[in-house]
C-alpha cells in the first residue's frame, strides 16, 4: 500500500514540471492564438541559464535566486521575441506564427551548444532538498515534495491573477473574444506582450526547477514540447485548471501504467489524448469554440485556374526541369528526386490545409504508411516495383480513411492534435512491432528495379508523378467537390444549409490527401532503399507544415515552391555546415518577416496590386476585399 501511495506522489512530482510549462503555453494560446512551438526552447533556456547562475552563486540564496532570476531573464528574451518578431505577424494567416516559432526553436538548439558546449551538464541539488524522507520503508525525495507543493501554489497564484486583477480580467476577456476587447479600446499590443512574458516565465521556471534532478542538454526542448501540447489539448485550450488536471492524469497514468506495461510510456500521452478528444472534442475543461467570426482560410485574391498562357508556361517549366539529367550529375539528380517527392508530400498537405482548412499535424503518418506499404509488398510479397508503387500507397489511403473519420469530427487545433496523436500511434506501432517492421532498425533493401535504378530514370519518374499529383490536386480544387470543400472551410453552417454533407466532404478530402502523401512515401522508400519509423515521425510532419506555410497557405499551389525552397536549402545546409539548424532557423525567421503570407502569397499580392492599378474593374474588387479585411 505504501508503495502505491509513493508511486502516486512520484507521479504528482512528474506532473509539476509538465503543468508549469503547459500552463504557460495555454495562456499564450488562449490570448494570442499563437501555437508557440518555441515554448520548449524557452523551457530549455531556463534550465541552461539557471545552471549557469546556480554554478556561479552558491548557497541557498544563490540557488533559489538563480532559479527565479533565470526565469526572469528568459522572460525578457521572450518579450524581445514577441516585440521584434511576433508583433509583425499577428495578422498573418492562422498558424503562420508556428513557422516563426519553429525557426526560433531550430536556432536555439544550435545556439545553446555554441554557448554552453556539447556536454550534458549536471546542475546542483537544491539546498535543503537533497535527501529523501522515509515513508513506511519507501523513500520519497524531498525535492519531489517541494515540486508537488509548487504546482498548486502556481495554480492558485494564476487563479488570483486572473480573477482578482484588472489585467487578469482583460486576459480572460481576450481569451473569449479578442476582437471585442480591441473594440473596447484596450491596448492589445501590451496585453499580448505581457501575456507572452508570463507564459515564457512559467516555461523557463519549469525548466529551471528541473536542474536538481535532470541533466541540462540541447535536446530538452523537443523532449517536452510535444508532451506539453498534448497536456494543454487534453485539458482544453486556454484552461489552466484543465492543464493541471491533464498533467496529473498523464503523469499518474504513466507512473502506474509502467507497472503493468513497462513499454507504455512511449505512447501513453497520445493514447490518452486520442481517447479524450474522441469522447470530448474540446478537451476535458475546454469549451466548444464559438462559431468563427473570421473566415479561416479567406483569400484576399480569389482563386482561379491557370490561364492558357500560364498553362503553357507551367509545361515549359516542367520541360526545363525534365532536362536536368542532360547536364547534372548523379548527386544532383538524387537531390532533385527527393525534392520532387517532397513537392508531392507538401502539395497533399497543402490541399488539406488551404482548400479544406484542416491543418494536420500528423501528415507524415500517411507518407510513412505509403513507404511501409511499398516495403512490405516489395520485400515480403516480392511484388514487382510497378505493382508495389501503385498498391503500396493504398496503405496510406486505408490509414487516412480510418483516422480521418475520427479527425474530421473536430476542427482547428483539436483536429491538428488528434491527427498528431494518430500519427504517433502509427509511429509507435512501427517502432515496437519489431518482427514485422524491424522496429527502429527499419526495413532495408527496398531498391528500385533496373529500369528505374539509374538516377536519371528515377528523377523522371519522381518528377512525372509530382507533376501528375499537383495537376490532379488542382483539378480537384476547381471541381464541384473542391468548391464544396471550400464552402465547408469558409462556413460549415452555411454550407450544410445548402445541402453539402460537410463531414463527408472533409473526410473525402482527408483520404485524398492521405493517398497522395502515400505516393510520396512510396517513392521515398525506393529513393532511400530503406524505410525507418522516422518517416512517420513528428519532425517530418512539422517539415511538411513548414513547407506549406513557407509557400503560402492562401495560395492554390504555394506548397510546390515552399517544398522546393525548404528541401533544397535543408539538404544544402546539412551538407555544408554542422550548424545547419541555426542557419535554416534564421532563414525561416527572415522569410516570416519578409513574406508574411508565404513566398507565393506575397508574390501574388504584389502582382495583383500591379494589375489593379492598371485595370478599372479589378480595383473595384480590391476595394471590396479591403472592406472585408477592415470588417474583420
Amino acid at each position: 500500500m505504501a508503495f502505491y501511495f509513493v508511486q502516486f506522489l512520484t507521479g504528482l512530482a512528474s506532473a509539476a514540471s509538465l503543468f508549469l510549462v503547459a500552463s504557460g503555453l495555454s495562456i499564450i494560446f488562449g490570448v494570442t492564438r499563437i501555437v508557440n512551438f518555441a515554448h520548449g526552447a524557452f523551457y530549455m533556456l531556463g534550465a541552461y541559464v539557471a545552471f549557469t547562475l546556480t554554478e556561479r552563486f552558491s548557497g541557498a540564496l544563490g540557488f533559489w535566486g538563480g532559479i527565479v532570476v533565470a526565469a526572469l531573464v528568459v522572460a525578457v528574451v521572450g518579450v524581445i521575441v514577441e516585440m521584434v518578431l511576433l508583433r509583425r505577424i499577428y495578422h498573418a494567416p492562422e498558424l503562420f506564427q508556428l513557422l516563426a516559432t519553429f525557426g526560433l526553436t531550430l536556432m536555439v538548439e544550435d545556439l545553446v551548444v555554441l554557448i554552453w558546449g556539447p556536454d550534458d551538464l549536471l546542475g546542483r541539488r537544491a539546498p535543503g532538498f537533497k535527501g529523501a524522507v522515509d515513508f513506511f520503508g519507501q523513500n520519497i525525495p524531498t525535492y519531489d515534495l517541494f515540486l508537488i507543493a509548487i504546482s498548486p501554489i502556481v495554480l492558485g497564484g494564476l487563479w488570483l491573477l486572473f480573477q482578482r486583477t484588472r489585467w487578469g480580467v482583460l486576459v480572460r476577456a481576450a481569451t473569449q473574444d479578442r476582437d471585442m476587447v480591441a473594440a473596447l479600446g484596450v491596448n492589445q499590443k501590451w496585453l499580448f506582450t505581457s501575456v507572452f512574458a508570463l507564459g515564457v516565465f512559467l516555461a523557463a521556471l519549469g525548466g529551471a526547477l528541473q536542474i536538481p534532478r535532470d541533466a541540462v542538454h540541447h535536446a530538452l526542448d523537443l523532449r517536452i514540447i510535444v508532451d506539453v501540447f498534448v497536456v494543454v489539448v487534453i485539458g482544453g485550450l486556454g484552461s489552466i485548471i484543465g492543464a493541471f488536471v491533464a498533467a496529473v492524469l498523464v503523469s499518474e497514468l504513466n507512473a502506474f501504467g509502467i507497472l503493468i506495461f513497462p513499454k507504455i510510456s512511449i505512447i501513453l500521452v497520445f493514447l490518452v489524448m486520442a481517447v479524450v478528444l474522441i469522447v470530448r472534442p474540446w478537451g476535458l475543461f475546454g469549451k466548444p469554440e464559438a462559431a468563427a467570426r473570421r473566415t479561416p482560410g479567406l483569400s484576399v485574391n480569389p482563386w482561379r485556374p491557370l490561364t492558357t498562357n500560364e498553362r503553357w508556361l507551367a509545361i515549359a517549366g516542367l520541360a526545363v526541369a525534365a532536362m536536368l539529367p542532360l547536364f547534372a550529375g548523379n548527386y544532383a539528380l538524387t537531390v532533385g528526386s527527393e525534392i520532387a517527392i517532397f513537392v508531392i508530400f507538401a502539395a497533399s498537405l497543402h490541399f488539406l490545409m488551404s482548400v479544406g482548412g484542416l491543418a494536420s499535424f500528423g501528415h507524415a503518418a500517411y507518407f510513412g504508411l505509403g513507404a511501409y506499404g511499398v516495403a512490405f509488398l516489395a520485400k515480403m510479397a516480392g511484388l514487382p516495383m510497378i505493382v508495389s508503387l501503385l498498391v503500396g500507397p493504398l496503405l496510406g489511403l486505408v490509414g487516412a480513411a480510418i483516422f480521418g473519420f475520427f479527425a474530421v469530427q473536430l476542427s482547428g487545433v483539436y483536429f491538428a492534435m488528434l491527427t498528431l496523436a494518430f500519427a504517433q500511434i502509427v509511429w509507435s506501432i512501427a517502432f515496437q512491432w519489431v518482427t514485422v517492421t524491424g522496429g527502429d532498425n527499419g526495413i532495408l533493401g527496398v531498391w528500385p528495379e533496373k529500369w528505374a535504378a539509374g538516377p536519371a530514370s528515377f528523377y523522371w519518374l519522381s518528377l512525372g508523378i509530382a507533376a501528375i499529383a499537383v495537376a490532379i490536386l488542382r483539378v480537384i480544387v476547381f471541381s464541384p467537390f473542391g468548391f464544396a470543400l471550400r464552402a465547408t472551410r469558409d462556413s460549415l453552417l452555411r454550407s450544410e444549409a445548402i445541402g453539402i454533407n460537410g463531414k463527408r466532404v472533409q473526410w473525402t478530402a482527408f483520404v485524398i490527401a492521405g493517398t497522395v502523401a502515400g505516393f510520396a512515401g512510396a517513392l521515398f522508400a525506393y529513393l532511400k532503399g530503406s524505410v525507418f519509423p522516422d518517416s512517420l515521425g513528428i519532425s517530418l510532419s512539422v517539415d511538411a507544415l513548414v513547407m506549406v506555410l513557407l509557400g503560402g497557405v492562401e495560395t492554390v499551389s504555394g506548397a510546390v515552391v515552399g517544398a522546393i525552397v525548404f528541401k533544397a536549402l535543408n539538404i544544402w545546409l546539412v551538407s555544408q555546415t554542422d550548424l545547419s539548424k541555426l542557419v535554416l532557423g534564421g532563414f525561416v525567421v527572415l522569410i516570416v518577416v519578409a513574406f508574411p503570407k508565404g513566398i507565393v502569397g506575397v508574390l501574388e499580392t504584389i502582382r495583383n496590386r500591379r494589375k489593379s492599378s492598371t485595370s478599372e474593374s479589378s480595383s473595384k474588387s480590391s476595394l471590396a476585399t479591403s472592406r472585408i479585411e477592415t470588417a474583420e
Binding site: A132, A215, A316, L444, V470, F524
Partner: protein
C-alpha cells in the same frame, strides 16, 4: 505553379554546378565520413578530434603510398534518410574511395545497405547493433567498435560471479536497449540457470520519467540490476536512484557507463561499485596508448573520450586498408581488409574475415568516486576475440553473400 517550375529549373542548374566542382585530384585519396554531428555533439566532437589526429599522423608519415589522405566529413542530423543523401553525395560528387563513420545503429544499417547496393566499401565506426555484421551483414560493410553481443559477453563474465539471483533490467525502449537486454539475458541464463528475472523497465530513449521507473524497480526487490540507459537518461536515473536508495545493497551491471562521455556528466553523483564497460584513459599504461594520449593532449589540450579512440582508429584502419590494397577498387579493399591486423591504442586488432567485425575490445571495471569525479577502477582490457561466438554460430547468423 508556373513560377515554381522556373524556380525548380534554376535551382537544378545551381545544384548541377555544385556537383561537378569536386572531382578527385590525383595525388590524394578521399575518404567520406558521416556522423550525427548536430544531433549528438557530446559524442561526435571527441570523435571528430580523434580522426583529425589520425589524418594528421597518416599524412605526416607520408600518406597512403605517397598519396595525401583527405577526409570529407558530413553531418546526418541523426536521420537515416539524410545519411543516405550524404553517402550519395560523397560517392557521386566527391568520388570518395570508401565511406566511414556513423553512430546510431539505424543510420549505420541504412548506410551499410546503401554501400551494399552501390558496391562501396563502408567501415562502420560506432554503431553497436549486432545486425550490421550478422543478420543484416553484407560483404561491403566492416565494423570497428565491439558489438552489443561482445560488450554483453564481457559484462556477463563478471555478472555471473555475483551471488545475486533476482535480476531486474532497465533499458531504453529501442533496438539497442532491446537487443542488449536480450543478449545479456540469454548469455547470463546459460551460465547461471538459477537466475530469475523479476522486473523489466523500458523507458523511451531520451524521455525517461525516472522517479516512477526507479520506484517500480525497487518494488520488485531485485538483488541486482542491469542498466542499459545512457546519456541524459542515465543522469536522471542515477539521481533518482541515489535519492531513493535504489542502488543501496544491490549490484548494478551497466553497459557503456565507464565511457567518459557518460561517466563524466555524473560528477559527484557517480554511483560506486557498478560493473561497467568503458574507457579509463587515465589508467591505461601501455606504450600504444601512451603515444596516442600524448599526441591527443598535445594537439587538443583536452583528454580523450571513447569517441576519440573510435574516430582515431577508424581513420587509421581505413588508411591501413587503403595502403594494403594500393587501390580504391572496392573488391580489392575488401580483400585487403579481411583478416588485416593493425596496431591500435588498445593493442593489436584484426578485421575478421568471417563477419567483418574488428577484434577491438573494451575495458571492464568498477565505477568509483575520486575527488568528486566518477572514474573506473580495477579495469581490465578484454580482447574482442575472446567474446565472440564460434565460427559455426556466426555462419548461421550471417546471410550468405
Amino acid at each position: 505553379m508556373r513560377r515554381s517550375y522556373l524556380l525548380g529549373a534554376g535551382l537544378a542548374i545551381a545544384v548541377a554546378g555544385m556537383a561537378n566542382a569536386a572531382m578527385a585530384q590525383s595525388g590524394e585519396i578521399k575518404i567520406g565520413e558521416i556522423n550525427s554531428y548536430s544531433l549528438l555533439p557530446a559524442f561526435t566532437e571527441p570523435y571528430r578530434k580523434g580522426w583529425q589526429l589520425a589524418v594528421e599522423e597518416v599524412n605526416a608519415a607520408g600518406g597512403i603510398n605517397g598519396k595525401k589522405l583527405v577526409v570529407v566529413s558530413k553531418d546526418d542530423g541523426g536521420k537515416p534518410a539524410d545519411a543516405t543523401t550524404a553517402a550519395n553525395e560523397l560517392v557521386s560528387s566527391e568520388n570518395v574511395a570508401m565511406l566511414t563513420g556513423t553512430f546510431l545503429s539505424n543510420i549505420g544499417l541504412a548506410v551499410s545497405d546503401f554501400a551494399n547496393q552501390k558496391k562501396v566499401f563502408f567501415l562502420a565506426a560506432e554503431p553497436l547493433t549486432d545486425a550490421i555484421t550478422w543478420s543484416k551483414g553484407n560483404r561491403y560493410t566492416f565494423r570497428l567498435r565491439p558489438s552489443n553481443y561482445m560488450q554483453a559477453a564481457m559484462l556477463v563474465e563478471e555478472a555471473a560471479k555475483l551471488p545475486a539471483k533476482r535480476w531486474a533490467t532497465i533499458a531504453p525502449n529501442y533496438e539497442y536497449g532491446q537487443s542488449a537486454v536480450a543478449v545479456f539475458k540469454k548469455l547470463m541464463s546459460e551460465k547461471r540457470p538459477d537466475i530469475v528475472w523479476v522486473d523489466e523497465q523500458w523507458p523511451p530513449q531520451g524521455k525517461i520519467d525516472a522517479g516512477p521507473v526507479v520506484q517500480a524497480v525497487a518494488a520488485a526487490n531485485p538483488e541486482a540490476i542491469l542498466n542499459v540507459t545512457f546519456g541524459a537518461d542515465l543522469v536522471k536515473l542515477v539521481r533518482e536512484g541515489n535519492t531513493r536508495g535504489l542502488f543501496k545493497g544491490r549490484s548494478v551491471v551497466s553497459f557503456l557507463t565507464g565511457e567518459p562521455e557518460y561517466l563524466d556528466p555524473l560528477k559527484d553523483e557517480t554511483p560506486e561499485g557498478w560493473i561497467v564497460t568503458g574507457y579509463p584513459w587515465y589508467d591505461i599504461k601501455t606504450p600504444d596508448h601512451d603515444k596516442f594520449l600524448k599526441a591527443y593532449q598535445a594537439k587538443f589540450n583536452d583528454y580523450p573520450r571513447l569517441g576519440s579512440i573510435v574516430g582515431y582508429q577508424t581513420i587509421k584502419a581505413a588508411a591501413a586498408i587503403l595502403a594494403k590494397a594500393n587501390s580504391t577498387d572496392p573488391e580489392k579493399l575488401i580483400a585487403a581488409a579481411e583478416g588485416l591486423s593493425m596496431p591500435s591504442p588498445f593493442g593489436e586488432i584484426t578485421f575478421r574475415k568471417i563477419d567483418h567485425q574488428s577484434t577491438l575490445g573494451a575495458y571492464v571495471g568498477k565505477t568509483a568516486l575520486k575527488d568528486g569525479k566518477g572514474v573506473m577502477v580495477n579495469s581490465v582490457y578484454r580482447k574482442g576475440t575472446d567474446y565472440l561466438p564460434s565460427d559455426a554460430e556466426v555462419e548461421k547468423l550471417r546471410p550468405k553473400d
